[in-house]
């Protein structure tokens, strides 16, 4: 037997077959309820209540339908009654109540905890109908429904230890081998008839990018979302691969500024930084071309995205220098520029450093390993400037401002607070979800604040890139990067 041929997986039947997904971060059971770097298995093992379509319109999943109260302070969910967990137990409204309560716990550190906490009460109407009481209208309620996986409440401890993950999803959890990855096999009693096609799925860890790339190129893995843009070049030419970009992006690179620290306390300085960086170069050189230069955090799929905001700041060193001059900020001392020491962050930081230098702002790179960096982020002890990536712009615009720490109106890393920003954020959040000019105006208020104050200076939206073997069809990703293979098959 040859390991090479076995891994490549022979056969092209619609039904059956085994799929290996290359992941760069191992499954981490402790982060089961957190938006983390690696969430592909969530929607394979579990289901969520709804699912967004391309335009962020919710589509039914475990929730068949929903009905807002007129005041927007409660919502009634009708749940599917034909769903069972892998162990055979039937799915009921109690599982939803448990899921929401679970997310509220601080130790789960779920980013959408604030949304979950906005749910103040439950009212069961039978086993499969549920009313959620809300503290106020919540604009991003459906983000919660998209995000929140429905787990078996009886085996939660086992799930958090990675021993037994019991869900309602298309695949059963076989085994997690730390460092190697997760093995899943077909759930024969899945609530969508005749689905899934695949017999088994394996999420296999290739923590080093070169290893991941080699695995794809040598046919050991057929699908990955973890290949960085830089590494994609050799695959672009390969005929047996399909590279697909998602409009949603997978986070955005930004320069953060601590408004409590000189010289970042000066708004003109911050704006000068925003003008100084060549976003196009960040995309080309750090992201390997897989990204969207943007001064605003929103990806193309976001309702808050506008072209004007995206090019609000462009590369204009002259303007930056002028602003710097008018602000009267001293450029004699080197400004510290923190960044996590991962290669991507480092490359962006190096570009930023060079560009700032061209505009007359001399910086000193301060790399930190990710845990240290995180500690500094949370405790608000960042240097005057830093480079990092943020998420949560791909869903409801309000989620960014309430769930993503850098943008939080009440407390953020930059130490930025203003009534205008707070008002704008609350206005956008404490509304019923809606489309239309009024909603867009509310989002615009948030964007304007962000662009004007420039405490978070967005550089580029990183593309969510799917690399798949050409014979793999039908794999999709939800807005929180949960992989769905319900309808996927190997041609």
């Amino acid at each position: 037997r040859s390991a090479v041929s076995v891994a490549a997986g022979e056969g092209g039947a619609r039904r059956g077959g085994s799929l290996t997904v290359g992941i760069h971060v191992d499954f981490t059971p402790a982060l089961l309820f957190t938006q983390s770097d690696q969430a592909l298995q969530q929607r394979l093992i579990y289901n969520t209540l709804i699912r967004y379509d391309e335009k962020l319109r919710p589509q039914p999943e475990l929730a068949r339908s929903w009905q807002y109260a007129d005041d927007g302070r409660s919502i009634t969910l009708k749940l599917r009654d034909d769903v069972t967990f892998h162990d055979g137990r039937a799915f009921t409204a109690d599982d939803v109540i448990f899921a929401v309560e679970n997310l509220r716990k601080p130790e789960r550190s779920a980013q959408l905890a604030s949304t979950a906490r906005a749910v103040t009460g439950f009212q069961k109407r039978g086993e499969h109908e549920l009313v959620l009481k809300l503290a106020h209208p919540v604009a991003n309620l459906f983000d919660l429904f998209e995000f929140m996986i429905i787990t078996d409440r009886h085996t939660l401890d086992d799930a958090l230890k990675g021993r037994r993950l019991n869900g309602t999803g298309p695949f059963r959890f076989d085994r997690w081998r730390p460092g190697t990855g997760v093995r899943l096999s077909r759930n024969d009693r899945y609530w969508i008839p005749d689905r899934p096609y695949l017999d088994s799925v394996e999420l296999r860890v290739y923590s080093h990018p070169d290893a991941l790339l080699s695995a794809l190129r040598s046919g050991q893995a057929q699908l990955s979302y973890g290949v960085s843009g830089k590494h994609l070049a050799p695959l672009k030419a390969a005929p047996n691969f399909r590279i697909k970009r998602y409009d949603t992006g997978s986070g955005a690179a930004y320069v953060g500024a601590s408004v409590g620290t000189k010289p970042s306390d000066d708004k003109s300085f911050r704006q000068a930084v925003a003008w100084a960086v060549d976003r196009e170069r960040v995309v080309q050189q750090a992201l390997g071309g897989y990204g969207l230069p943007s001064a605003a955090p929103w990806p193309r799929s976001s309702p808050a995205h506008t072209e004007a905001d995206r090019i609000h700041y462009t590369h204009d060193p002259g303007k930056a220098r002028a602003l710097l001059k008018s602000s009267g900020v001293s450029t004699r001392t080197r400004v510290p520029l923190g960044h996590p020491s991962q290669p991507l962050h480092t490359a962006i930081a190096e570009i930023v450093q060079y560009d700032l230098e061209q505009a007359g702002i001399r910086t000193e790179l301060q790399p930190h390993d990710s845990a240290t960096f995180q500690k500094k982020l949370i405790s608000g002890t960042m240097p005057a400037l830093w480079v990092n990536l943020h998420g949560f712009a791909q869903v409801h615009p309000a989620t960014l401002a309430v769930s993503a720490y850098p943008f939080n109106e009440a407390k953020n890393t930059s130490g930025f607070r203003s009534k205008a920003y707070t008002d704008a954020v609350r206005a956008a959040w404490q509304q019923r979800d809606a489309d239309g000019p009024a909603a867009h105006a509310r989002y615009q208020r948030v964007s304007d604040q962000l662009l004007e104050e420039a405490f978070i200076i967005d550089l580029a939206i990183q593309d969510q890139v799917e690399v798949a073997a050409a014979r793999l069809r039908g794999a999709t990703l939800n807005k929180f990067s949960y992989l769905s293979l319900d309808h996927a098959y190997l041609a």
């Binding site: 830089k230 750090a286 290669p343 480092t346 930081a349 570009i351 060079y354 301060q366």
Partner: protein, 287 residues
């Protein structure tokens, strides 16, 4: 009075008059080694003269092949001149290594000498060496970097730490052998004090394997720097080192092979030169 013996001493002709290290350095093997190491060191020292670009200047033209736009070796993925990054990278490496290895060697020797003073100290030092040796090097590197933050310092500390027991053990073994030698006993009987005995009499006689080890350790240090950069815990960006140039180039191996060629060649030459040197020294001192 006895008559003076006037006959010629039984001198081994030629090489005997010279110090064995000098003799070693004149072998072909060592000469090649010296030329290789010398060339690399010189390239590092003369980096500012040899390169036309600043090592951190980003031209905006990423990954251009060698010879384009005044970039003799091309540019890296951020549009920086590869030649100057290579030259300055050598420089950084040399600075780190030239600091760390000797410090490690000195500390190791100091501990070994300390161990020679008293059996209790010996045990303590021995266990300490065991301990350092027992920690897997790269994991230690990760931990040290996590504590100190990325930069030159942790690289130096890690290399130093790794070298201490290597030199210490070697010297300790040498001292144990040498101090039972007749000449050491003779010096003791002649009234030489302990410290002087250790440093002036015994140490020089233990030096040969240490000198060989020095060359070996330098190569190990080049690798360690590279490995740390590869794991992303090396010298701070944007400063170039051989290791981080190499790891930066690896994703482009098939797309832009010239990117990795420079640092790879230099590392290989350097290590080759050093191993040739150490081998020559080893051969000559064992005679």
């Amino acid at each position: 009075m006895t008559s003076t013996v006037s006959s010629a001493p039984a001198v081994r002709r030629g090489t005997a008059a010279r110090h064995p290290y000098l003799a070693a350095l004149t072998t072909t093997r060592a000469r090649i080694g010296l030329v290789l190491v010398g060339a690399v060191v010189l390239a590092g020292l003369l980096a500012p003269l040899l390169s036309s670009h600043a090592p951190t200047a980003q031209s905006g033209r990423a990954l251009v092949p060698p010879g384009t736009g005044g970039h003799l070796l091309g540019t890296d993925d951020l549009g920086r001149d590869l030649l100057s990054r290579l030259l300055y990278g050598i420089r950084t490496d040399l600075e780190v290594i030239a600091l760390a290895v000797p410090i490690g060697a000195l500390l190791g020797c100091a501990f070994a000498l300390l161990a020679a003073v008293h059996p209790v100290l010996d045990t303590v030092v021995q266990r300490a060496f065991d301990l350092v040796l027992a920690f897997p090097g790269l994991i230690l590197a990760l931990a040290v970097t996590a504590i100190l933050g990325p930069g030159r310092l942790p690289v130096i500390v890690v290399i130093t730490l790794a070298e201490i027991p290597v030199f210490g053990r070697q010297l300790r073994a040498g001292i144990l052998v040498q101090r039972e030698r007749d000449y050491a006993v003779a010096a003791r009987v002649g009234g030489t004090r302990r410290a002087r005995l250790l440093i002036r009499h015994i140490l020089p006689n233990c030096a040969d394997p240490l000198v060989v080890q020095l060359a070996v350790s330098l190569t190990v240090a080049v690798f360690l720097e590279g490995a740390m950069s590869f794991l992303g815990v090396g010298v701070r960006p944007p400063e170039p080192t051989l290791g981080n140039s190499l790891s930066q180039a690896l994703p482009y191996l098939s797309q832009a092979p010239y990117f990795a060629a420079g640092p790879l060649l230099i590392v290989t030459l350097l290590v080759l030169g050093l191993s040739l040197l150490s081998e020559a020294l080893n051969r000559e001192t064992r005679r």
